[in-house]
């Protein structure tokens, strides 16, 4: 009986071939890349075949979450993380296609120094994707080796500043650029965009610039910009989705000098599908949009989000102009606000011709921060009377409408019999 048992066991051990070690290297690499990096390194303890498999991983993702950092204030923990990255890279062998460093809570003593070394290593290994997010108090200068990563397709950098090297030949394959907490000197960002012929997505979050920024690109499809500027000049005709959020309310940039070529920007658009103009985008527009100046209809434009003071004549006119050229508008979202220092033009919206078919395809309207002022009521009236296929009108009022405004709202005629007005 004992004999039989041992035979069976032997038979089983023959059947249990080490399948996973015999998988092609590409697959093993894929499996390792799916693991948290620490666990991937731990596979060196498995067996001889796995001893150095981890060292040739192609996608390196260092996440602070995998390192059970307390609150990041402990220097030791942070050191451990940084040390791990250093050790890993020093032992790594082979190409690195993706490098991701997510360490917003990690305190680095000299982020620039580390990143400089790492970037140099990456630039030598044909890196295609770089994402570096760190806790950085002062912006660091992007190491020049970054610009020699010729195969780069995706870059996401945080807290940096850069200067294009004189002999920069451009990123031929770059399709997405993402800068966070970014400080731009001169028009470096514009030049960078110009030297990426295949750039399709540009995201500039919390940008701070004292210089003129001028972005010209015919390839760009997605554009998101928020931050503070002195001059912003955009010409991106093939953008399909654009979010422009301009801030002026801090002391860095004098309000008067803030400038944005809104009219020209909208005029250049051909394929726009949704557009958001937030913050002070309207206010910063140099001349607003002169009625009749927009050259063509934006036939694809289906969604508009605006942060607007409907009582401000300049803004009201610009918005009206935008509505006029977007015949297929389906969703409109207005974040109402009162900038308070300009002349209210309560009668502007009442004076618009109600038969012009301004909102003939509008399906949904969302208005937040509704106060029930004359201008706002006038706009809602125009909208309800002029939108034949409207289904939903969500109106959010923070400080409870008074009875009079409510009455007025209820009394309004609706062109669409399906229109549902939801008051929140």
């Amino acid at each position: 009986m004992d004999h039989g048992g041992s035979q069976k066991r032997r038979h089983k051990s023959v059947a249990n071939v080490d399948n996973i070690s015999n998988l092609p290297d590409v697959i093993k690499d894929k499996v390792l890349c799916c693991l948290p990096i620490k666990e991937a390194v731990k596979t060196c303890l498995l067996s001889r075949k796995w001893r150095y498999t981890w060292a040739s991983m192609t996608e390196l993702i260092f996440r602070e979450d995998d390192f059970s950092l307390g609150n990041g204030n402990e220097d030791g923990e942070s050191n451990k993380f940084v040390h791990f990255v250093i050790m890993f890279l020093s032992l790594h062998d082979g190409p690195i296609l993706k490098f991701e460093l997510n360490a917003r809570r990690v305190h680095m003593f000299s982020p620039g120094g580390h990143i400089h070394r790492w970037m140099l290593m990456l630039s030598r290994n044909g890196v295609q994707e770089i994402q570096i997010k760190t806790k950085i108090w002062r912006n660091y200068k992007i190491p020049s080796s970054f610009f020699s990563c010729g195969a780069l397709e995706y870059a996401c950098l945080q807290g940096c500043i850069f200067q294009l090297p004189p002999l920069f030949t451009g990123f031929k394959r770059m399709h997405t650029l993402h800068f966070i907490d970014f400080c731009a000197a001169e028009n470096n960002i514009g030049e960078l965009v110009a030297s990426c012929p295949n750039l399709e997505k540009l995201v500039l979050s919390r940008l701070l610039s004292f210089a003129d920024i001028s972005i010209h690109s015919t390839k760009l499809k997605v554009l998101r910009i928020d931050g503070m500027f002195k001059h912003l000049n955009l010409v991106t005709p093939h953008v399909s989705s654009a979010v422009i959020n301009l801030q002026v309310n801090t002391g860095y940039v004098p309000r008067a000098g803030c400038n944005f070529n809104l009219s020209e920007f909208i005029g250049s658009l051909l394929d726009i599908e949704n557009i958001s103009l937030l913050g002070h985008a309207f206010e910063c527009a140099a001349h607003g949009i002169v009625p009749g100046k927009l050259p063509r209809l934006l036939n694809r434009l289906a969604e508009i989000t605006l942060e607007i003071d409907l009582g401000n004549l300049k803004e009201a006119k610009a918005a009206h102009c935008l509505f006029q050229v977007s015949p297929n508008l389906r969703r409109l979202e207005l974040k109402l606000m009162c900038r308070g220092y300009s002349v209210p033009t309560s009668t502007f919206w009442d004076s618009i011709d109600h038969q012009a078919g301004l909102f003939k395809n509008l399906d949904t309207i969302v208005m937040s921060n509704f106060t029930g002022s004359c201008a706002e009521s006038g706009f809602v009236k125009l909208l309800l009377e002029d939108a034949p296929v409207l289904r939903t009108a969500r109106i959010e009022d923070k400080n409870k409408l008074d009875k009079e405004s409510l009455k007025l709202l209820l009394k309004m005629r609706r062109a669409s019999k399906d229109a549902e007005v939801i008051l929140l």
Partner: protein, 444 residues
């Protein structure tokens, strides 16, 4: 348009459809005369579905009241290899308005009317017939069909790569069958995938490998992720167990990676901890050794005695080595009356080396003193006859120390050569002492 008429296609319609099929079949007609006129004969609600094969030169004659069901393609059959990479379009219609037919009827018609098969051959020689549209989901097979025109008949089956065994092929085809159907929601696909990879790890590995060789990237991603999920959060032992990995690394090697990271004070501490663990391990090993040793004690003692006498017995070094042991030996001597025993030589020698170690470890320790040397001459002879009668625990401890010393000596010998003159003599002596002894230890 009365219901009865729709319920059963009239003669006219059949003829029309048949005619359409026949003229559509063109040159293939001779070889494949079975006009693909089908009837999903479900009682009186029979549906006429005509399948016509269009010819590049002949427009499809379609009855006026035909409701197109779908247009699909098929590779020309019969000629092999086919001329060029073109697909003959199928046109299926019904003279019933599709709204009259139930979903299930449509479902019945579609695959039946259009199913085209191809043949696949696994590496083990087994041949499988598979719906073409399903197999085409694998890029590797698709390329074979389109570029090389293989797979049209059993004799021209597409040879599959070695890594695709019949079991994983059938899994892969299940996967393709589900995913090639357009219009499934992401949620549906996700839940299918989730269930799909719930198979035992061995098959999962095979499946991954097979999917890779068929270049079915989505499945490769899916299975790799599943493998990673299995590995994640497990100890090396558990992983080794699951995947039947050989445990072919030595303990030393397993600890090595940790040794590399020693800049951080914490890590240094950790390393110290591991060093301790390592020592424990060695000790355990030694314990085992000691047990073995006890069985062959006598032989070894003899060997060593011979070695001791022949190799080093007459040299001054040997005597000097003994000198360090002097005090202790005297004590032992006093305690235990001498007894002629080989064993005692062994033990005493060991103790002697230990003493050497202690001396050399302490840099400020006294070098050999000549008066002791003098004394030693007497004791050196006494040694052979001496039995210090150490108790077994003590012996064990000494053995351990000796071995430890041997290790230290090997690594530190060259270093010590650079020490002062006295030191050098001493270490030379010590190494001599150890040399005569350690061959015995090593072959245990």
């Amino acid at each position: 348009m009365d219901q009865t008429r729709w319920a059963r296609p009239g003669k006219e319609e059949w003829a029309q459809a048949q005619g359409a099929v026949q003229c559509g079949l063109g040159r293939d007609k001779a070889k494949r005369p079975a006009a693909s006129l089908r009837c999903s004969a479900s009682g009186w609600r029979a549906v006429a579905v005509a399948v016509a094969v269009a010819d590049a030169h002949q427009p499809l004659p379609v009855p006026k009241n035909a409701h197109p069901l779908f247009l699909a393609g098929r590779r020309p059959r019969g000629s092999h290899p086919p001329e060029g990479n073109f697909f003959l379009p199928f046109f299926c219609w019904t003279t019933l308005p599709p709204s009259v037919m139930s979903e299930s009827e449509l479902a019945v018609i579609q695959p039946e009317a259009l199913k085209t098969y191809i043949w696949l051959q696994c590496f083990d020689g087994s041949i499988q017939q598979v719906e073409e549209e399903v197999a085409m989901y694998c890029p590797m097979i698709c390329r074979e069909i389109v570029q090389n025109g293989t797979g049209t008949s059993k004799n021209h089956a597409i040879p599959l790569p070695e890594r695709v065994n019949p079991a994983s092929l059938s899994l892969i085809l299940d996967y393709c069958r589900f995913h090639q159907v357009p219009g499934r929601s992401n949620k549906e696909r996700k839940s299918f995938d989730e269930k799909f990879v719930r198979i035992d790890t061995e098959r999962l590995c095979e499946l991954t490998s097979a999917a890779d060789s068929l270049q079915l990237k989505p499945l490769v991603d899916l299975t790799s992720r599943a493998l990673a999920r299995i590995i994640e959060g497990k100890t090396p032992e558990e992983i080794r167990d699951i995947f039947h990995l050989p445990d072919d690394l030595t303990e030393e090697e397993k600890l090595e990676p940790l040794k590399n990271i020693n800049d951080d004070p914490r890590i240094r501490l950790l390393n110290r901890l591991y060093a301790k663990k390592r020592k424990e391990l060695q000790d355990r090993q030694k314990l085992k050794d000691v047990q073995v040793q006890e069985e062959q004690k006598d032989e070894r003692s003899l060997d060593e005695l011979l070695c001791y006498i022949n190799g080093d017995g007459g040299s001054g070094g040997g005597k000097a080595a003994k000198s360090k042991k002097k005090n202790k030996r005297r004590k032992d001597h006093a305690k235990n009356p001498p007894k002629a025993d080989f064993e005692s030589v062994n033990k005493d020698g060991a103790a002697c080396v230990v003493q050497c170690k202690r001396d050399s470890g302490d840099i400020s320790g006294l070098p050999c003193q000549s008066p002791d040397m003098q004394d030693d001459v007497e004791y050196a002879f006494e040694d052979a006859d001496l039995d210090d009668g150490l108790d077994p625990a003590m012996k064990e401890k000494l053995d351990r120390e000796v071995e430890d010393f041997a290790r230290r000596l090997n690594s530190a010998y060259s270093e010590r050569m650079h020490l002062g003159q006295d030191r050098r003599i001493e270490s030379h002596i010590a190494s001599n002492g150890s040399m005569q002894r350690f061959p015995g230890f090593n072959h245990r």
